[in-house]
Amino acid sequence: MIERRPIADAVGHLIMLAAIFIVAFPIYLAVIAASHTIQDVSQTPMPLLPGAELLTNTARALFDGPQLVGVSGATPAIVLLMNSFIMAISIAVGKIIISLLSAFAIVYFRFPLRNIFFWMIFITLMLPVEVRIIPTYKIVADLGLLDTYTGLILPLIASATATFLFRQFFMTVPDELLEAARIDGAGPMRFFWDVLVPLSRTSIAAMFVIQFIYGWNQYLWPLLIASDYKYQTIVLAIGRLIRAPDAFYEWPVIMGMAVLALLPPVAVVVLMQRWFVKGLVETEK
């Protein structure tokens, strides 16, 4: 299709640039704020050009944590980052393993009530964590899993989205591949490992990116489970940093921490971008 509409193009670009500005400016501001001393940041208006303190501030956030009025003892960001990492990676990997297996069962095995099971999984798509949070909390509490990594991770692992995505992918794999594998003497699990999993690797990569970010950005669940500072995630900690009104905040260090919290998801997306896009747009057969 050939289109030549210069005015529409210009308007379109303008809207796009405005949107980018709206999204990017706060992030820019956070980076700027993290690069000045507290005195500079406290001025009105605050400086809009980078200062020289970025490394100092982020290092302080990383190893000491910002000093807060009314909160005794700060948690250094490195601990928080580590917790977030453990949680996000476990959720992503766990979700992928569980979903691959359940999709495999649903697509390749005939068992009683197969469709009912599929629809049960599918219906949970409509129920986000928040809806089932009270019963889930009760179960986790009864199992004595509060303030543990297991409690943080396990309830978030079941994933209808990923199961559904892998099911759709498996259904596009030609039946003849399974038949060829059967004639070659491969049992079901052998077929799963040797053929299905390698074929799904782009989908797996896409799922990993999506689920890693989902896990990283969890707020409500860690808020309930991790009352002990040792198990807090960075997203949760940022929320807690600025809860006292009229208090004195170490803004540059807080912002340094916010920037640190932003980096891992960005890194995952950037590193896996090629696979991620491939997994969502193309089905390699």
């Binding site: 038949e179 060829a180 059967r182 004639i183 003497g185 074929l199």
Partner: protein, 357 residues
């Protein structure tokens, strides 16, 4: 190497009967082609031999072993699929050796077998490539290589050439034939293409709606079709069928179209279906009495031959004549039938009528 025996093999999908009971004995080293249009049950039959479909009734024997309840991998067969079914993420070498690796063969053994198969199929330069980097014909050869390395007793081919273009199909057809001569392994080959069927088969099985209408050598099936269905299916263009009344040694099509019959035929008087192959008619020479006058609607020029489509006594008729005869649309040639090559079928049942004499 082994013979394959089918006894009363049936397949039902719920209430739908797909295969009505097939009996067949495939000799050791024989090349059997199962041919028929789509939906006739030919692939189902093959898949039952492979063990990919359960058998509703009857038995299938490979060698001396009844294999009804034996897994495909244990049946000592190898199968080539229509869409090749190569593992897309494995190299040619890995594809060919996968079955051997699962069976736990030694590295050296696998290496010799794959190299030998690659040599037979001229695949050596491509062993490290992925299937998507190969052409259709090469992929087909890899699929065959995967079957060869296993050294099975029976090869099963499920329309292996239908995804190839016409030229490559002819070439691969020849290669399959050569391969069979070289290896001598019992083969069952399914196709809807009657040319493939005729050229490859030691014996043909013509399937019609879940039944084997005829099992015989290509010449036999062509020269003595057992039913009107077989007569119409084998041969291109298809056999012409004319309904007629036979009385006193003559076939009466209408009041003014009367054909003579071969001298020795002794069939009871009655209604029949007369089969005439398009190649068994010719243009009447000057001074010769024509059996028929054909009203040509369309003349299809094929190069060496021309196909004349028209009507005789209200029924469709195709005649193959040499191109130099120079007939065109709307001409009206007189035709002479090769009387000795007429086929007679029962009007009701479509079965061939024996014409002793």
């Amino acid at each position: 190497m082994a013979k394959v025996t089918l006894k009363g093999v049936k397949k039902n999908y719920g209430p739908v009967k797909a295969i009505h009971g097939v009996d067949m004995e495939i000799k050791d080293g024989e090349f059997i082609v199962i041919v028929g249009p789509s939906g006739c049950g030919k692939s189902t039959l093959l898949r039952m031999i492979a063990g990919l479909e359960a058998i509703t009734d009857g038995t299938i024997q490979i060698g001396d072993r009844v294999v009804n309840n034996i897994e495909p991998a244990e049946r000592d067969i190898a199968m080539v699929f229509q869409n090749y079914a190569l593992y897309p993420h494995m190299s040619v070498y890995e594809n060919m050796s996968y079955g051997l690796r699962i069976r736990g063969r030694s590295k050296a053994d696998i290496e010799t077998r794959v190299q030998r198969a690659a040599e037979i199929l001229q695949l050596q330069p491509y062993l490290q490539r992925k299937p998507r980097e190969l052409s259709g014909g090469q992929r087909q050869r890899v699929a065959m290589g995967r079957a060869i390395v296993r050294e099975p007793s029976v090869f099963l081919f499920d329309e292996p050439l239908s995804n190839l273009d016409a030229k490559l199909r002819v070439q691969m057809r020849l290669e399959i034939k050569r391969l069979h001569q070289q290896l001598g392994v019992t083969s069952v080959y399914v196709t809807h293409d009657q040319v493939e069927a005729m050229t490859l088969a030691d014996r043909l099985v013509v399937m019609n709606q879940g039944r084997a209408d005829q099992i015989g050598s290509p010449q036999d099936v062509y020269n003595h079709p057992a039913t009107t269905y077989v007569g119409g299916f084998i041969g291109s263009p298809a056999m012409n069928f004319l309904t007629c009344r036979i009385d006193t040694g003559q076939a009466k099509l209408t009041d003014d179209v009367i054909l003579p019959l071969p001298a020795g035929w002794s069939v009871p008087a009655g209604e029949y279906s007369l089969g005439i192959r398009p190649e068994n008619l010719r243009i009447a020479r000057a001074g010769e009495t024509a059996h028929l006058q054909l009203d040509v609607d369309v003349a299809e020029e094929l190069g060496a031959d021309t196909l004349l489509h028209g009507k005789i006594a209200g029924e469709e008729m195709v005649v193959r004549v040499p191109s130099h005869a120079g007939f065109h649309d709307h001409s009206r040639p007189g035709l002479v039938i090769d009387i000795e090559r007429l086929h007679l079928f029962d009007r009701e049942s479509g079965l061939r009528v024996a014409t002793p004499g």
